[in-house]
């Protein structure tokens, strides 16, 4: 599953990032790395969402959300 399939209030663990090269690097610099836990704070139907990771709140668009592969954090 990707972050796009996630729901508000749930936590997920990142398993891979599949977006354009420069964006991938920027995401990684912001702390989106494999095994990092992300919590979706709120999301819109169109896929834009606010997530929290490493104590930082970030708004990301649909394309980025669809490019971040995750699994349930409890798994």
């Amino acid at each position: 599953m990707t972050l796009f399939d996630g729901s508000s209030g749930s936590e997920y663990r990142i398993t891979g990032i599949y977006v354009a090269y420069t964006i991938e690097r920027r995401l990684e610099a912001l702390g989106f790395n494999e095994d990092t836990v992300v919590r979706i704070l709120t999301r819109k139907k169109n896929g834009a969402m606010i997530v929290k990771l490493r104590g930082t709140r970030l708004a990301i668009g649909k394309l980025i959300a669809m490019g971040i592969e995750v699994k349930e954090a409890s798994q």
């Binding site: 702390g31 709120t42 819109k44 606010i50 709140r57």
Partner: protein, 665 residues
């Protein structure tokens, strides 16, 4: 050491309170310029401690020392190339984990460095505790000073640390990567030593080469391809974050005890439905106070200016100054510049509100809230930020379009940002809606702001359709903690903007007023008292047939609009000069000017006034904006396209508004 002067670069993440701290350290003695080659602002200030003079340079907020954005490149060049003695790294303690990533990169430069640990109050509020003894130990024993930029706590200790550490010299390696990476770094360092034995920052550059940094590769034409793998950058980043996780584990206690205030507020302000209502409500409140309180203060200012204008008139008469000279001073300079000065309160309130929204942390939420609507027209929610800044001034707004990812997005944003009503257009709305819409003046002005947003969004939609672009929305923006806006930051922001406005009134508008006066008092037969025989009238009359369908078939309006290209405020000063209202206030406010307009153009009514305002909203932006668009797009072709597009659109919209208005009234 160069005498007693220490050069300090202030570096930190966006929203870490860097600017507030910088302002506290330097006071308001600031020198603002651009970084070489780019239009990013470079701010320098001076501070002193004991016998030392500290020259501080504020660098743009960045998350990483990579070279993907202009801000990153600028900051990097500053701390590597310029003779910076100490790096002052401002760290948001409430977001330690992310902030430390930049810190680790800075430490790899092995320059003297001091950390200012900001936002400690938020840390306390959340029920967190930081081990301030362990933290420096894990960061190579550099000084870590807790400060509160907002409350001015810890400033003396910080200055002491900068001076003391500066004398101590560079620091040692902070952490080791895995053996695999360390071996590669070592090998690259050896190759680099052969290439340039005197190389500074060898380790840092070796790591950057490993990360595949384009700029560093360009500057170091050495053979390292066999060593470097595409996945190395990923490993370097992950290992840094691995070390940061270790730091956080050892240093931060009582995690997540209190529910976050920010998250409670965000529940409403970023709600899919209420978020948009909230945004509209906030914006309409901003415009409401801009008009209501602003107009009240404007009235007081008008009375004062009228008194000044009258005393100048009496003085000129007492000195028996020639009539033409009196006319030039009173009808040209005083009327033009005075007319502009009376709008100072409205503009001050507007900028105050924008500064408040920005400093409180709300502004970046707008990008998220508007992302859905912006996505439908093919723009990222991020494009809404330049648009909001456009309410203040189009020039910085156009510059802000740089934050967008693709060239196509940037150009589209540059094309539509001028449709946002900048503060210079506010006087036009206030003047004309006040004269012709009386009780509904506020609503009419607000409708123009909405019309601007509407036209911008529709234009973006059409531009996207024309270029058949695919949906490329790349929204990625940090939402900072909500905080009480800092008085000092807001004060500095608002005074800078007002000084800009006053400077403009004293220069561009002063000259434009005199030029307009000359155009109206000189004709083919020399000086004339009949404005209808002046050069201005001849020029205006030529264009009257074009403007007739928009209900603006008087040469005076045409001339006023042409003069507005120098700066949009000039439209108002020109109107007062053209209709020979010595000062808006002398003729008992708007009514005097309205009577003079009706004397020249008896037909001129509410629909004409609205068409005039619509045209002013949409047509060619001012010279400064045109120059900025050219600079940012680096294309004359594109710049001319923008000008023509806006001119044609303004005409079409004004004609539609006037013709519909005429049917209704």
């Amino acid at each position: 050491m160069k005498g007693n002067c220490i050069k300090v670069a202030v570096v930190g993440n966006p929203n870490c309170g860097k600017t507030t701290l910088f302002n506290v350290l330097t006071g308001s003695r600031l020198k603002v310029a651009n970084w070489p080659g780019v239009t990013v602002e470079k701010i320098e200030g001076v501070s002193s401690y004991e016998e030392f003079e500290l020259r501080l340079i504020d660098t743009p907020g960045i998350y990483s020392l990579a070279s993907y954005t202009i801000e990153e490149k600028v900051t990097r060049r500053c701390i590597i190339d310029q003779d910076i003695d100490v790096i002052l790294n401002v760290v948001d303690a409430s977001s330690l984990e992310r902030n430390l990533y930049l810190t680790l990169q800075l430490l790899e430069l092995k320059k003297p460095m001091v950390i200012a640990l900001n936002m400690m109050d938020i840390v306390k509020e959340r029920g967190l505790e930081l081990d301030l003894h362990r933290l420096p130990e894990l960061l190579g024993n550099i000084p870590v000073v807790p400060v509160s930029a907002a409350k001015k706590n810890g400033i003396a200790v910080l200055l002491h640390a900068i001076v003391h550490h500066f004398e101590e010299g560079p620091i040692e390696d902070v952490f080791q990567y895995s053996n695999e990476i360390e071996e590669k770094i070592e090998k690259i360092e050896v190759i680099m030593s052969a290439y340039d034995p005197k190389h500074h920052f060898k380790r840092w550059h070796a790591i950057k080469l490993l990360e595949g940094d384009e700029e560093v590769i360009r500057d170091h034409p050495i053979e390292t391809e066999i060593l470097i793998d595409r996945s190395d950058e990923k490993k370097v980043i992950q290992e840094k974050y691995g070390y940061i996780e270790k730091i956080v584990e050892e240093v931060v206690f009582h995690k997540n005890k209190n529910a976050h205030r920010t998250e409670r507020i965000d529940k409403w302000l970023t709600h899919p439905v209420f978020g948009i209502f909230g945004f509209l409500l906030i914006m309409s409140f901003v415009f409401f106070i801009t008009f209501s309180i602003g107009d009240y203060l404007k009235g007081i200012l008008e009375t004062i200016l009228a008194t000044i204008s009258q005393s100048i008139e009496q003085m000129l008469q007492a000195l028996q100054v020639a009539d033409w000279m009196q006319s030039m001073i009173l009808e040209g300079a005083v009327a033009g510049v005075g007319g502009i000065l009376t709008f100072l309160p409205n503009i001050a309130i507007l900028f105050l509100a924008l500064a408040f929204l920005e400093d409180s942390g709300y502004m970046s939420r707008v990008a998220y809230v508007m992302d859905g609507i912006m996505g439908k027209v093919g723009l990222s929610g991020k494009a809404f930020l330049p648009m909001i800044l456009g309410f203040g001034c189009t020039v910085p707004a156009i510059m802000a379009s740089r934050a967008l990812e693709t060239e196509a997005d940037r150009r589209k944003t540059m094309m539509i940002t001028p449709f946002m009503s900048c503060s210079a257009r506010l006087p036009i709305y206030i003047l004309f809606s006040g004269m012709f819409f009386e009780r509904y003046a506020y609503l009419v002005s607000f409708s123009l702001y909405l019309l601007g947003i509407f036209v911008a969004i529709i234009s973006a939609f059409l531009l996207t359709r024309r270029r058949k672009e695919k949906d490329k929305d790349i929204l990625l923006i940090e939402l900072p903690e909500y905080k009480r806006p800092n008085f000092r930051t807001i004060r500095i922001y608002v005074t800078t903007k007002l000084l800009d406005y006053l400077t403009k009134a004293g220069t561009t508008i002063f000259i434009a007023s005199l030029v307009i006066w000359a155009l109206l008092h000189f004709g083919p037969n020399g000086m004339t008292t009949d404005a209808a025989a002046s050069f201005g009238a001849i020029l205006g009359k030529r264009l009257v047939p074009i403007m007739q369908p928009a209900g603006l078939g008087n040469w005076q309006f045409v001339v006023a609009l042409i003069s507005g290209i120098s700066a949009k405020e000039v439209v108002v000063s020109s109107i007062t000069v053209l209709f020979q209202a010595t000062n808006l206030a002398i003729n008992s406010g708007n009514q005097g000017l309205q009577q003079r307009i009706l004397a020249v153009a008896p037909e001129f009514g509410a629909s004409n006034a609205y068409a005039f305002m619509v045209f002013s909203l949409l047509y060619t932006p001012c010279i400064a904006t045109i120059a900025t668009i050219k600079k940012e797009s680096m294309s004359w072709k594109f710049t001319i396209q923008v000008i023509l597009f806006q001119l044609i659109l303004a005409w079409v919209a004004a004609v539609i508004c006037y013709q519909i208005g005429r049917l209704l009234v």
